[in-house]
């Protein structure tokens, strides 16, 4: 589970696990994380945690909320983000997976989310919610007991099958399967955590905008068009529930969905994002490649190869592409009857790694490739 490490001027004061779906931060005593300092507003900020993502939102505080030095209104927290509120620093740390527990492979596998716990929580609230454990999380559409659902619209789930189910099905019947019930890391349902989803939450999700009073920014409208509730509904609706201001009673513990996700993923977070942003990150290491035209009318012109792909040549005549990869720059023939030449040698179908000061001849124009330091 993710946590916040609160520190003041370099000394750590306390850790707060983000175990609730919505954790509030502020000066007043009812906040989950109370910071008694006049620079902190009464209700300063909150963090809504859904599955593995935590969203930080400034609640209109007087002095604002910074993340990594930037003022934010809303922010999706990444591992090691530092939130600053007044003089206090709150470091967001998501779980570091224990080596060997799960491979990267497992926690990124596509999984299906469904909402059985919700359906059941609403229809037969008290004890259900734990059909999980085993590989089959199937909640058949016919299953929901015909118990009256007082708070809901009569046709709560217009979409048959998927609507009644819920929670997370990891494929493969692996350990990742979770219904809405919080699941302990080894895949055993831990039923004791009580009903998962507030009826309020679900009601809000199902019955459309009008029924969710005090909807807050973080919750947004969950009613997807066509009443396709499945999803998110599961989790997001409960977030709605929580966000619908002070929910009656303490907010339920957040469904710790899919250990496959919850404690495994954080590490991924760290590595995924760079992956995605990679063109920049990976490309930065090697020196910047540049093409300088040597002959023809454009002689002397330079072109920095900043993009992943740069095409050169005349369309329809002869075109080559230079790709920027972690290993360096590669040139490949794209179109044209004859292939471009590198150092006097025609390219074949394979990509050719460009070396510093290679000379390319393309559509009658000579150019030099070099690496800028």
């Amino acid at each position: 589970m993710a946590k916040l490490i609160v520190s003041l001027e370099g000394s750590v004061i306390r850790d707060y696990p983000l175990e609730k779906e919505r954790v509030t931060i502020g000066r007043k005593p009812h906040n989950d994380i109370q910071i008694e300092n006049l620079a902190v507003s009464g209700e300063h900020a909150c963090i809504v945690t859904i599955l593995n993502d935590s969203f930080l939102e400034d609640l209109g505080s007087t002095n604002g909320t910074l993340v990594n030095g930037n003022s934010i209104k809303k922010h999706i927290l990444q591992n090691n983000d530092v939130i600053e509120i007044g003089k206090y620093k709150l470091k967001y740390v998501s779980d570091v997976p224990v080596a060997g527990r799960t491979t990267v492979d497992e926690f990124e596998k596509t999984m299906v989310m469904r909402a059985p716990a919700l359906a059941r929580a609403a229809s037969a609230r008290p004890t259900t919610g734990s059909t999980t454990g085993g590989p089959r999380t199937m909640a058949l559409p016919s299953m929901p007991p015909p118990t009256p659902r007082p708070t809901l619209h009569p046709p709560p789930f217009p979409t048959g099958g998927e609507a009644t189910s819920g929670g997370l099905t990891s494929p493969g019947g692996g350990p990742g399967i979770v219904s809405g019930a919080p699941t302990s890391p080894d895949g055993n349902p831990t039923t004791d955590s009580g009903p998962l989803s507030l009826p309020g939450g679900r009601g809000a999700a199902l019955s459309g905008p009008s029924s969710s009073p005090g909807r807050e920014a973080a919750s947004g409208s969950q009613t997807s068009p066509g009443g396709r509730v499945v999803t998110a509904s599961g989790f997001m609706s409960s977030s709605t529930g929580a966000a619908v201001a002070s929910t009656p009673g303490p907010a339920p513990t957040q469904p710790r969905v899919g250990q496959a996700g919850s404690d495994a993923t954080p590490s991924t977070g760290g590595s995924v994002s760079p992956g995605v942003a990679a063109p920049a990150t990976t490309g930065e290491a090697p020196a910047l490649g540049t093409i300088q035209i040597l002959s023809g009318s454009g002689a002397g012109k330079e072109l920095d190869l900043v993009k992943n792909l740069t095409t050169l040549g005349k369309p329809g005549v002869q075109v080559a592409v230079i790709t920027r990869r972690p290993q360096g720059y590669f040139i490949t023939h794209v179109e044209g009857a004859s292939a471009p030449e590198v150092n006097g040698k025609a390219l074949d179908a394979q990509a050719c790694l460009l070396k510093d000061h290679d000379v390319i001849e393309l559509a009658g124009v000579k150019m030099e490739f070099f690496l800028k330091k």
């Binding site: 999380t137 998110a232 977070g269 990679a278 992943n308």
Partner: protein, 271 residues
Amino acid sequence: MSDLNSALEIVSATHPGMVRSHNEDSIAIEKEIGLAVLADGMGGYNAGEVASGIAVAMICSEVKKALAKSKTEALNGSAVEKLIAEQSVRANEAIYEAAQSQPRYSGMGTTLVVAFWHDNQLTVGHIGDSRLYRLRGETLDLLTRDHSLLQEQIDSGMITKEQARYSQNKNLVTRAVGIDPEVEAEVHTYSVQTGDLYLLCSDGLNDMLPDEDIQLTLSSLQSNLPLAAEQLVQQANDNGGRDNVSVILVRVANEFPNRSGWAGRLKAWIR
């Protein structure tokens, strides 16, 4: 049947990526009938491949059968939509039953994206987070909307598209084939223009490669589709290749009006 064979240029590429040991994606192309199908399976051991394989094979053979049956009468747009929706349902039943009856397939499922070109139109059906993009001119449009938690979060305004890139919940789909006894494909029909380039892909591509890079690759390499497909896969892998990557590229080189129906034949004759 119209001359789809000459109207469409189709290439594909699939790769297990840099992390996974095997490829759970399945793809199929039936150029003669203008059909491309891509499925991203999930499930332990090899059940993912089984699920995606069943989906792809069933859709192909059933669509072919249906076309053969209606040989004399051209299928109109709504009939095609119905056909794809129905076949998705059947694929779902088949996978669901297999998963129920055989413990080793328990829990398997797959995403699905089906693209069917007919009568200067494209009908797309999808379930889950496999996508279909269209490059028209320089503009890349995503024609499918993921059935995923992330998309729901974006739709609800909880996070922006930019933030979504860094989300850790990328892998949660809200609809899939074979998981529940019933599922509904989202099916839409679009008009097609000559020069359009379509991309079907599994999330292994678009999770690793921002749309701008996809756009850049497609627009700069559209004269060489096999290279474009290879480059897409390579970039996904260069960026980490955390998942199987599959792409199908379809370029529309000519119009393909329907000539099989009565009206079509007349039009063809007048030409």
